[in-house]
Each structure stands twice: as structure tokens, then as C-alpha cells.
Symmetry: C2
Subunit: 95 residues, 2 copies
Amino acid sequence: MKFDKIIHEPARLKIMMILSGVEQADFNFLLTTLALTRGNLSRHMEKLESASYLKISKSFKGKMPNTSYQLTQKGSKALAQYWENLDAVRRLGQA
Amino acid sequence: MKFDKIIHEPARLKIMMILSGVEQADFNFLLTTLALTRGNLSRHMEKLESASYLKISKSFKGKMPNTSYQLTQKGSKALAQYWENLDAVRRLGQA
DNA sequence: GCAAATAAGTTTGCGTTGCAAACTAAAAGC
DNA sequence: GCTTTTAGTTTGCAACGCAAACTTATTTGC
């Protein structure tokens, strides 16, 4: 019943949950939705990527760079597992 | 939808959940149940107390010192709020 | 056309914190 | 009476989240 530290950070958990509900989302969408600073968001995404929980796709929208993210299968699984663990902890209350 | 950092630490969340299910629990019970080191547990309890989330009662069981903990009302409320926030994040998935 | 402002990220630096190991103090065993 | 065990507390360090500074490219104002 150990927690995944990568996911167990509020900002990253929210990011993962958002990504789990859509095909993909780009930097600005996450930025405005979550109200983080750019620096913060960047670091979180980097961390999630280094865990292979998401895939980063860089492209250009017109002439502007655009970075887009989507959950990997590994990320999906880790997220599901995370919620399971949390539910287990929640049940500690009914002891 | 901000998270309570005091509670949002796996060990402390578990502690709070356990305490929410019983009147009170002592140091050794938590120690064996959670499989933490003594030092760790001590620090977590200290932190929870300094947030007034629990009350510490020191007494003697026979001749041995015994430290016992119980959730305060403030702690109970914070814990309930914590789960509410988490549920809100969970719903981000159905976007 | 070039200087200033905006956009889209990344990198750096710092303060906080969780964790393990070392320490303390008292009781029990031999 | 000395060693071991019990019950914690304190200390030190490595990792991490966050904000601010920096980078690179683009658009806009004059």
C-alpha cells in the first residue's frame, strides 16, 4: 500500500486526471486550467515524462511552438493503481 | 481545491484515518500497524499536533510511559475536507 | 526595419520536509 | 550492577516543489 510519489503531488495528480479524460492536452490548456506558473508546469511535465507516464509531442501551431501531452498506458495504469491505494487507505477509517 | 499539506502525506493520512475509526490509539499500535520507524512516527505526530489535528496524552501503563493520541474536532473536519477535495480531483477524469 | 512587448517554455536557487540514523532516558532481565 | 529492551526525541541530509530569472522566437508599434 505504498504511494506513487510521482503521482501523489496535487498538481501532477490533477494533470494526470485531466489527461485521463481527453486524448491529449497542450501546455497552455493545462496552464490556464490549473493556474500554475509556466516554470512549475514545465517541471511537473518533465517529471511525469521521465517516469514515462506521458508522451510529449512538440509541433508548431502556425508559427508558434506548441507542446502537447498524452498519457501513456503505463501512466494510465499507475493512475488507476494510485486510486486503488487511496481507496484502501480510505477504508482504514472503518476499523 | 487546494490540498492540506499536513494531511497529504501518506503516513499522516493513514494515521488520521486510523484515528478516525477509533477513540484513541497509542504510539506502539500506530508503530506496528504502519511499520514506520519510531523517529518518523514521532515527527509525524508532532506535526499533526502542532496543527491541532490531534491531542497527545502521555501517561503510564504500569511503569512504562505510554503516549496516546486522539483526533480533535478540527482534525476530523480537516480530514473530511481532504477527502472532499480529493473526490473533486477524481472527477476531473470525467471531462 | 527595429525596438519593445508578448509567447512558450526551461533553468536556476532556495526553503521546506520526509526519512534514517544517532541519541536519551528509564525499566527489565541476568 | 551491567546489559538489553522499550519508548520515544533530536539531528543531518538528500530530494523536492515553487518562484523568479533566463532563453528563444514572434508579433506589434512607431
